[in-house]
Structures are given as C-alpha cells and as structure tokens.
Amino acid sequence: MNIAALVSLTGLACYGWLTVLVLRYGWRRMEEVHRLFLAYLVLMAIWQGAALGVSLAHTEDATRTWYTVMSIALFSQFLIYGALVRAFLNVRTAKWIIRLGWAVWATSSFIALANPQALIAKLTWSAQSEIYIPEFGTLALFPGVFYLAVLIDCGVLLYRKYGTTDTAMERSRLRYLLAGLAAVLIGIVSQLFPLLRVYPIDVVANIINAGLIAYAIFRYQLPSVTLVIRKGLLYSIPTLALSAGYFLTISLAINLLHVSLGGQVFLLSMLLAVGAALVAEPARCRLQRVVDRLFFRESYNSDAMLQRLSRTTATILDLDRLTEMILDDIQKTMHLSSGSFLIKQSPTGDYVVRAQTGFHNGLEDHWRLSSDHPIVAWLIREQASLAAYEVDLNPEFKALWTREREEPGALDVALFVPLLIRNDLIGILCLGPKLSELPYAANEQLVLSTLANQTAVAIENASLFSESVTEKKRTSTIIEQTSAGIILLDSNLRVASLNPAAEAIIGLRAAQIQGKPLSSVLGPGITGRDSSLWQAVATGQRVAPREETLVCNDRLCDVLLGIAPLKDGYLLSLADITQVKAADRFKSDIVSNVSHEFRTPLAIIKAYAELLIDEVDADDVALRREFLSVIDSETNRLADLVSNLLDLARLEARRGVEEMAPVAMTKIVDEVIAEARFEAATREVTIDTEMAAALPTVMGNKSLLAIMFRNLLGNAIKFSRPGGRVEVSVEHAGSSLLIKVTDHGIGISEADLPHLFERFYRSTTAQEAGIRGTGIGLVLVKQAVEAHHGSINVDSHLGSGTCFTVTLPTNGATPEAAAHIVELLPEPEFAL
C-alpha cells in the first residue's frame, strides 16, 4: 500500500459520494447539465479506479493496461467536460466541433488501445513512491494538445460569460466553474514536471473541480469562492498549529528524551492524543469560533438570541421600540447587513416599513409592499420563509413586473420571514444578506420563524395595547373637553372623579370632593327616594337625563341629570340648564308681557265700545266722539305694537346678518321727518333739523337705521308739550357720526333712566302723563344701534326735556366719495 493508492482511494470515495448525491437528486428532475455531470463523475471514477490500479500494479504490463484505461477515461472526461460547460452556459455547439471531438476521441482511444507504446513510451519504477512513473510517448502530444485546447476553450467561454453576466448569483456560479477549471489546469501542468509528478496534485485538482461543479450546479445560492478559499486557509491555521505542536513534541521526545522504543512512542502518541482530545480540541474549537466571529461573522448563539428576544417580546408593549429592538438584536447577532420590519397598515392592507436597520440613508417612509404583491400571496399561502433567490428561480414569480421586482429589491432582502397570527399575515420580517455572504441555513430559517411567531404575538399585543392607549387618550380627551359634566361614583355613591365641566357646573374642585358621599356634595335630594340616582341604584338600569335641581356649593342649580350604572359604580352626566331655565323664564315673561301689552288696549277698546253701546245717550255727540277717538287711538296703539313687535322679532332673528352698505344718514333723517310731519302737526310740534352739507356715510342697513330714527323722533314728538320744538342734528365727529334728537317735553326721572332700554318698560312720567306707548320702541333703537357697532346716550332732566345721542362709526367716505368709489370699481368679469 502506497501513498498514491491512498490518494486514489480517497478520490474514488469522493466521486462515489458525489455520484450518490447526484443520483439522489432524482433522474427525472435532471436536466442536460446534471446528466452530463453524472457522466463526468462516472468517467472520473473510472479514471480514479484505473489510477488505483496503477498504484497497486506491480508489473509493467498491468501498469500499462491500467494506464490505457486511464487515458481513455481521461479523453472521454475532457469531451464530457467540454459538453458540460457548454450545456451549463447554454452555448450551442456547431456540429463539426462535435464531430471533430468524437473523431479525436476515437483516434486517441484507438492509438491507446492499438499502440500503447505510442502513448506511454517508458515506465520507470520509483522506489520512493512505489509506483511506475510513465514517460509519455510522442503521440501523447496529439490528444494532449487537443484536450488542452478544449479546456482553454471552456475557460474562454466561462470567462466571457462571466464578463457579460450582471446578476451576482450567476457570476458567483461561474466563479466556481472557473476556479475548478484553474485547479484542473494546475493539475495538468504539475504532471509536466517530473519532480511534481510524484505528488497526486492532478487527482486533488480533479476532485476539487468535481466538487466545485457539483456545488455550482446544485446549490442555488453560493458563497463567494474567495470566501471559501479564505476560510479554508484560516481554518487550516489552527489545524496546522496543532499538528506542528504534535510533531514538535514527538521529535523533542525522540531527540531529547531519547525515546526510541516503539512502545514508548506509542504511549507518548496516545498521551498526546488524549491531551489533544481533552485540551487542544476544545481550544481549537474556541479559536475557530473566535476566527468565525472576527472574520466571518457567522457564529452566534441562536438559543441565547431566542431567549433574549422572547423576553423582549414579553415585556415591551411599544410597537416601535419592540420592532427596533428585535431588528437590532437579529442584525447584531446574526451579522446581517440590513433588516426591516414591514407591518400591515389597517385600512389598505399594505405592508409598510415600521422599523429598519443597516440602511445608510434609511428607507423612504412611503416604501411599501402592496397587499396583492405575489410575495405577500406566497407568504400567506406557504406560511414559510422565502429566500430571495427563490423569487429569482420560482416560476410563480417569473411574471413579476420590473416595478414589483424593484420593491423588495429596495429592501435588499435575502430572506422574507412571515409574521403570522391565525393565518393572517400581520407583517414581514425582511432580512438582508449575511455579512458572511453565506446563505440562510435551514436551521437558521427555523430559528427565525420561531422568532417571527413570537414577534407576531408581541406585535399584536403591542398594537392592541397602543389601540387601547389611543382609545383611552381619546376617551379622556372627550371627557376633558365635553361641555357635559361627568361625575364617576364608586359603588358606595362616593365621588370617584369628575371632569372640568362637572367642576364648573357644581362650582367645586375635584380635589375638594373626591371620596366624599355624593349626598354631602350635592344635597341629600340627589339620593332621595324619587331621585334618578335612587332609581338607577334600585333597578340597575340607566336613567335617561331629566331635570333636577341640585344644591351646588350652597346655591341651587338646574341640571339635566342622566345616570348610567357602571361595572363598579355609576356615571352621572350633568348638563347645566340654569341659563336655559332662566332664558325660558325670561321668554315666558316676555310672552306674558306681550299679552299684557295687547290686552290693555283691547280692554280699553272693549270698555269704550261697551260704554258707547249702553251708556252714552244718542244725542251726546261730543261724548260719543270722545269715546270713539279713544277707541281709534287704542287701535293705533295696537297697530304700532304689532309693527314694533314684528320689527323686534326681525331684528333679533337676523341680528348681524343684515346686509350692510354705505348709507347716507341725512337721507334717512329727511325721509323719516317727512313721514312724521303729520303726527307732529297734530301735536303742534315743530321739527328743526341741522345737518352739515357733506357728511360721511355709515356702513349700515337702511331699514334698521330708519327704524332707529323713526322711534327716536316718534318719542320726541310724543313727549313734547303742544307747541314744543324737537331738534334733530347730524354731525361729524372724528370717525363717528352723531345723531342727536332733542325734545323739551316732560323728561325722564332718574329712577327710570336705568330701565329705559328694557322691554315693555314704560316710564312712570309717561304713564302718569297718559302718553301711550308700547315699551318696545327704545329696545328697537338700542338693538339697531348695536347692530351698527354704535352707541346711544340719554341726557334727560325731569320736566325740561330729553336728548338722545346716537354715535355711529363712519366708513370714512363721504357720499360723493362712496359714489366715486363705486364708479371706479371694475365691472365683474365672467369667464366662460
């Protein structure tokens, strides 16, 4: 048994193993490349078997025979290799090349069989390696050059393809074949040097080539060749150090301790072996792990990571923090280039980036994977992680549009891990390639899916939690902001909490009454027998809001009180209706006042009509006339009342909505005075006016201003004594217009002045003087003035007359100027 035989046996084992692997792949699934590769392996095995025969042969004839077998296998193998590379690259081969190949093969084989001497001229026994070393004959050059040409052709084809391919995966694959080819070439070249021929370099090179081809053909994702070589070198360092130590110890023992006996050497070897197993091997493992961590970044403790992250998922409820922490941990532990979490967005169902790590500029916020994306559909259907290369290979994704391809492309994803809850894909964990450039192993994918499941649960918890937090915030905002007072009671009817509106209604701060029985806060009536609260406690049903009067902070307030029983107490909702009730009372006051104001003149009309019918003699013409005039004037009063009330209703209903326009006050004054001339003449009152020539206009409503002035002037005439004088003046003061109406009549007492503008208020002096009125006129005046942002002043002395001064803001334009401005305004243009 020599070294060459051992090497050949090893080679044979390798080819056998690879053959088994290829066969396990399944004949039916095999494509042309796979079948050619199988043929290649078989040929290599034959070649290796022949080599084994060579190394075991002890006669020259046997050796020569084995060499012949070996040569023919080698010729065939080159041919198949050329075909394999072409099939791999999908290169069509011209027929004449195939024919030429077969011709050369047939010729070479024929030469090898017919005239072995021509191929191998001479065999020399090498005592050192215990085999016959061949010296090639002259004819060996013919097939040698041809097959070298085949190899070079393959190399050129591969290299050219390598240059034109732009997908990283394909380039990596080609790199493998190129590396294998280089190894084969090195092996061949080594055979040219007799010095190297004794070493089985070509055998090793061919095994390497076969291994690399197998890897390139059968693995979808390949680590880069440089990495494999780098790693091989680095891994060999601890092994080399160990073996160096071993030999050093042995040689030291032999040379220094003069251990010469076989038994002693054996014992030492055993001791060293035990030492190596107990100490050196663990040390080597540790060293290798350090090397892994430092240079290849792939060693990690997945159990520790799972444990850590399951703790994280169990304790953190904030979705953003949770996803960030998980990503960070995965990235650091598994040495990933990048990672991102896509979480399903509720309305659209799209998966949107929620957390990211390892992206230099960060992903754009709007980045998303639509809910109908084929990858999403796949993840939902398969419920398993999806590697990016599968997307490239799977026919299902072949129909992906460029844009759809770009979507996960932007994420630089190597692995999509689905986050599933009850068959619902709530998110996707997108992991970038590992820094080691190794693909994700099956056990890693398992770990990641376990983690993804945990994360899915945690994310759901987090989103439920954040929903409940949002809901709580929303509820508390509603409670804080609502105008309804809300009081929460515990089951013992003690105040648990109340909102600001409730504080405002009952006039007490929450801190003052928390924990106190409600009856001590809002009076015993609230829990009395007929109260809403009693009813709610007794029936356990909610009580619709109804009016109740509470004692709030020692004053009574009218509220609408609704009660809803809660799980552990009661909710009281309060609406303060004190104002509403006051307004209600006010309104009913007005109704009764109005009815009074109507009934009084009606009563007079009825009474005098009755007197006229029954009491007055038919010939008492003067008395009849007098009574009739009473009826007439009361009828007028009723008519006035009706029109005043209508004005008032209109003013109150449309307050602030009146159309405003520049109005010349002087014009209104002139018109109203013209209307009042008859009335004034009947009462023998003269009206003097004093108006400046050019007065500014006021921004106002003409009819309101007319109502205002008509009432003022009417009052002035009414309260003047017969023969009296009413003075009207309109003047300009600063940015205001002053309208003064002065009479020299009965005047107003000081007691009446504060009530002058109240509805239906009639001054005592007027009543005593028998001057009829409606009690609405001055209310109208005041409202009209206020609608114009003006003010009204009264200056009056009992017995000597009254002066009303209305101040209206001007719009800073004289009527002429206003007219001018109107002219200057451009005509409105209408675009069609």
């Binding site: 009764s592 009815s595 009934r599 009563a603 009825k606 009474a607 009755e610 009491e615 005592t764 009543q767």
Partner: protein
Amino acid sequence: MDQVPRPWIVMIVDDDALIRRAVTIYLGNRNYEVMGAVNGSDCLAKLSPKMPDVILLDVMMPGMDGRETCRRIREFSEVPIILLTARAQETDRAQGIAAGANGYITKPMSLKEVEVRVRAFLEPPASNGSTDTPASTPP
C-alpha cells in the same frame, strides 16, 4: 239697569286713566260711588280716609304691583278684592289668590261682568238685607 239700594263704594286701582274712566262711568251710572287710584301706594293712601266696599285692583302696575298691594291691604282689612289682569295664566291666578284676592277678572273684560262680579260680593245670594255686607268694616 238694576239699581243698588244705597251707593256702594267701589275703588278702581289702575295705572291706565282710560280704564279708570270707563269703570267709573259704567258703575257710576249704576249708582255706585267709584273711587280711583293710579297705583298701589295711591290706593293704600286713599283707603285710610274712606274704605270702599269692593276694590278692583289691576295687577300690572308700575311701582307697587297689584299683588303686593293686595297683601298690604290684607294686613288690615278683609275688604273684597277683585284682581284685574291681562295675565291669564293659571299660575298668575293662583298667585293672586295666594295674595289674598277674592276674585279674578281677565282683561279685556266686559264692564257688565265687572258689575256682576262686584255685586256678587255686595249681595250674597242667601241674604235679604242690605245690612249684611260681606266686607268687614273699615278700621
């Protein structure tokens, strides 16, 4: 027109002169003696020298209103008081009775009704003599 046996005295308290005048004319024509007062305080002032047999009292008057006046009168006299009012609601009526009024007439009223109501207090249906006045004597 029925004539009462002796001039009963009726006081009309109303801020409206026209109402006072109409009542005065109507009752005067029926042999009543009618006193007028323009408001509550005027009424109280005129009661001390001469107590009427019936008082017609307007409710809504400036200053002291009818109900207040009624309460004041009740402090010293049980003279029949009929309230005259433009307010016709139930509550107003109740408040009037609570203030001590004996009757209630809503404006606009018929003068005939006023006279009938006044006479009802002066001549109780069961009595046959004019001496039985339902009203107490003035102090």
